[in-house]
């Protein structure tokens, strides 16, 4: 399950309060999620969850579920 905090990050970055996430959500399903806004998203997640992603991790996410798993592994 995607937590509320991550959904709020997405809503803030993309300026859309209607965004809902699930593990299978990809960039194709969220308006404006391109390679440039992906960096915005990464910075916002790093600030919100007080973590840092490696370059390999940033490039490896295929969907929100993989992103969520990575965040959880860093917060353990």
């Amino acid at each position: 399950m995607i937590n509320e905090q991550l959904t709020n990050v997405f809503r803030g970055v993309f300026g859309d309060d209607t965004i809902t996430l699930n593990d299978q959500t990809t960039a194709d399903q969220i308006e404006g999620w391109d390679s440039m806004s992906h960096i915005n998203l990464i910075i916002a997640i790093e600030i919100a969850f007080k973590i840092e992603f490696s370059n390999e991790e940033i490039r490896s996410f295929n969907n929100v579920g993989e992103m969520q798993k990575c965040i959880e592994s860093k917060n353990q």
Partner: protein, 538 residues
């Protein structure tokens, strides 16, 4: 003046008249790589039905209609519908933010917008300030939201498939507007005409030299002049077999498109090639694209190392070329029949008179850097900037159009790009005006003053660098950087986000308050800023 084909007739009606109605206009490939074939007849009837709706909503010749959609069959059909109704189309990037939309749609006095539900919220935020807007057509809602926000599917269900329009039209009739950025002020809308079709077709034939059974793919977004002219109009007008891919850059998807669609001729951008260069060679060996015969590239200079890499990896020739929103079609190109010189733009097209002029607008010496200019009068030349005739006039000197680019012509007639002659930033093929970015950043309460410049970048050609002067007691932080990035994304576009931020105590300006960008560029590159006598007192 002899009439020309209406651009819609040249691309659709003429092919149908020639018996090609049931043949493929393009194969549409969705993000998930599912496919759908569209015939000329389908595009013709769908655009006819939308044209009927436009006319019923009061759109008349000369009205401006904006398309705010991601690349989609609906975008293509809407574009042709607008041309058929003799209104003027303006395709806007779906990544545009509210300020960018407001500036452009107020400048062109948009009467009607065609969009989709997920983008509608941006329009609703600015709707009350769009003074000429009468209707919004939404392609993916089933019911009208009110008397002005209308469901396109609902209207289509009662719209006839026939639409009568004059296939021949006065060539100087405005057809579409392409926005571009300048050093100062707001973006400028270059107005293009139906008579551009001869340049569009002839340049496509001369440069791409596509044979009957070859498959073509242009990766450019239709909101960019390349995507509109060479991604939609030119291939349709020349009965070229083509694919259209809905997605943005994705190395895996792109390679799959090349492989599975057996693409022969691929038109893309240096930034895309540089992004692909980041993949290991092993990634490419997993795909088979042996059908690929020619790659074309436009938007920024193609570095020799990228040229050599692409030629090695894809095992075919790579042809760079040059044109602008204002020129409407390719002016200078590498192409089959001319030996490619890596790093060069190539040679002018057959009908184009291209020169390098010095500061006094005299011919520059061979091999000397100067202003790249074209003798005016080619059919796809823009006819004005929307509401800015004085800026249009400034783009000409005597018989020559001044591109704003600096270049060199060598002894064999090849042209070599040097840089812009103004402050416009070319990032990933998008021209970004510093004023637009600075205006948005200045709205952030922590920022006291700002200036942006373009700096060399290994992937983007140029990246945007922002120099920020913060208000007293404000400290720079990642949170503030994020605020800047999101502000630019939401107001202008993700392509205009500064990639680097420098905090300074004062922005260098001259005594009349003009930002001294040359000083900032020198600071950035660690060079001597030169004469500072015009700089205001510290």
């Amino acid at each position: 003046m002899t009439n020309s084909d209406n651009l819609a007739y040249a691309c659709l009606g003429r092919q149908i008249k020639n018996g090609l109605g049931d043949t493929s206009a393009f194969e549409w490939i969705n993000n998930d790589l599912s496919k759908e074939e569209f015939s000329y007849n389908q595009i013709e009837s769908n655009s006819n039905r939308i044209a009927n709706i436009l006319v019923n909503l009061g759109i008349i010749k000369g009205d401006r209609v904006s398309i705010f959609l991601p690349r989609s069959p609906e975008l293509i059909c809407s574009f042709f519908a607008i041309l058929k109704s003799e209104a003027v189309a303006c395709v806007l990037f779906s990544t545009f933010g509210e300020s960018a939309l407001l500036d452009r749609m107020n400048d062109n006095r948009t009467s009607l917008i065609i969009t989709k539900k997920s983008l509608l919220k941006k329009i609703l935020k600015i709707k009350d300030n769009l003074f000429n807007l009468r209707s919004i057509l939404v392609i993916d809602i089933d019911e009208h939201l009110d008397s002005s926000i209308l469901s396109l599917p609902k209207l289509l269900s009662n719209s006839p498939v026939d639409f009568k329009y004059a296939p021949r039209i006065e060539p100087d009739t405005p057809a579409f507007i392409q926005y571009t950025s300048g050093s100062t002020g707001k973006p400028k809308g270059a107005v293009h005409v139906h008579g551009a079709i001869s340049s569009i077709k002839n340049s496509f034939i001369e440069v791409f030299q596509i044979k009957k059974d070859e498959i073509y793919w242009c990766t450019a977004d239709p909101a960019w002049i390349t995507g509109l002219v060479y991604g939609i109009m030119a291939p349709l007008a020349t009965q070229t077999r083509q694919i259209q891919f809905a997605g943005n850059f994705n190395a895996e998807h792109w390679l799959k498109c090349l492989q599975e669609e057996r693409v022969n001729v691929w038109y893309t951008a240096p930034t895309a090639l540089r992004m692909l260069m980041q993949e290991e060679d092993e990634f490419f060996s997993r795909h088979d694209y042996t059908t690929l015969k020619r790659i074309y590239s436009v938007g920024e200079p193609l570095n020799p190392e990228v040229y050599r890499w692409a030629k090695r990896i894809f095992n075919c020739e790579v042809y760079d070329n040059f044109f602008q929103s204002e020129t409407g079609s390719i002016m200078i190109a590498n192409r089959p029949g001319i030996q490619v010189r890596p790093g060069s733009m190539g040679k002018p097209l057959y009908s184009i008179n291209s020169v390098i002029l010095d500061d006094e607008m005299n011919s520059a010496n061979q091999g000397s850097q100067g202003k790249l200019c074209f003798k005016k009068g080619w059919p796809s030349m823009f006819i004005t900037y929307m509401n800015k005739p004085e800026l249009y006039a400034e783009k000409f000197s005597g018989n020559y159009y001044i591109t704003g680019d600096l270049a060199v012509k060598d002894g064999d007639g090849y042209f070599w790009y040097v840089s812009r002659s103004d402050d416009v930033i070319n990032t990933a093929g998008h021209l970004v005006g510093p004023f637009e970015v600075e205006s948005a950043l200045l709205e952030i309460e922590e920022i006291a003053d700002v200036a942006v410049i373009g700096a060399p970048d290994a992937i983007l050609h140029e990246k945007i660098v922002a120099y920020l002067c913060l208000k007293n007691s404000i400290e720079w932080s990642r949170a503030l950087e994020l605020k800047c990035r999101i502000k630019i994304s939401n107001d202008i576009s993700t392509t205009a986000i500064p990639q680097e931020y420098k905090i300074v105590s004062k922005i260098p300006k001259n005594r009349s308050g003009k930002i001294l960008r040359r000083v900032l560029r020198a600071w950035y590159e660690g060079k001597d800023p030169g004469d500072l006598s015009t700089m205001e007192e510290q």
